[in-house]
Symmetry: C2
Subunit: 134 residues, 2 copies
Amino acid sequence: MKNIEHIGIAVKSLEASNVLFSKLFGAPPYKTETVASEGVKTSFFKVGENKIELLEAISETSPISKFLDKNGEGIHHIAFEVTDLLSEIERLKNEGFTVLNDSPKLGADNKLVAFLHPKTTNSVLIELCQEIKP
Amino acid sequence: MKNIEHIGIAVKSLEASNVLFSKLFGAPPYKTETVASEGVKTSFFKVGENKIELLEAISETSPISKFLDKNGEGIHHIAFEVTDLLSEIERLKNEGFTVLNDSPKLGADNKLVAFLHPKTTNSVLIELCQEIKP
């Protein structure tokens, strides 16, 4: 794993939280993006080399809807950047981790992503992501 | 704010979680440290330029004890590195954030730290930290 690519934070209103986090970081989000397959609207803030992703649900079946119902707003996941997602999935399965999707799927921000089941990671939802090269 | 300095994860057993996260990152923690004032034992992992801090409570009055009782294991806080903690505290108070300790206190890893109240940050506990120069 190369570094923390971003931290995902579940919010009820992207509009209100964009204002809040713009004050926190002293700069507005550098982009917003809708990921229809995950049922989310997202915005991204840059903090040094790292990113913070805010996630608002746009459908009731979105994982973010379910998270907000259960936990309220707060940190949703940590994403680590990897060079080779398929070999990292294989390595982590061999180490005993449960990978939620064996086949990488398309995430926000031009990434292939896979998630580790929080039951095998001290209740921390971990995303592995690999940039899709043009 | 310069970057994500570390992410703090509350765990029940530092010993067991050190094994788990060593497998995840492919390397053992580079140091462990007890912070008596906070009632915690900690271990640190390096992931690229970032760090992951695991926190185990060593007293029942530790904030980590209370967190585990209420939420179970999981992500506890995000720490952002700042250059000048006092001026950053002042800036954020003026922006409407509630700072839990106006006077910076001594944290783990040779840092002066202050926390923002999660009620003003979408339920995310945010630590600001400034390295203590020798």
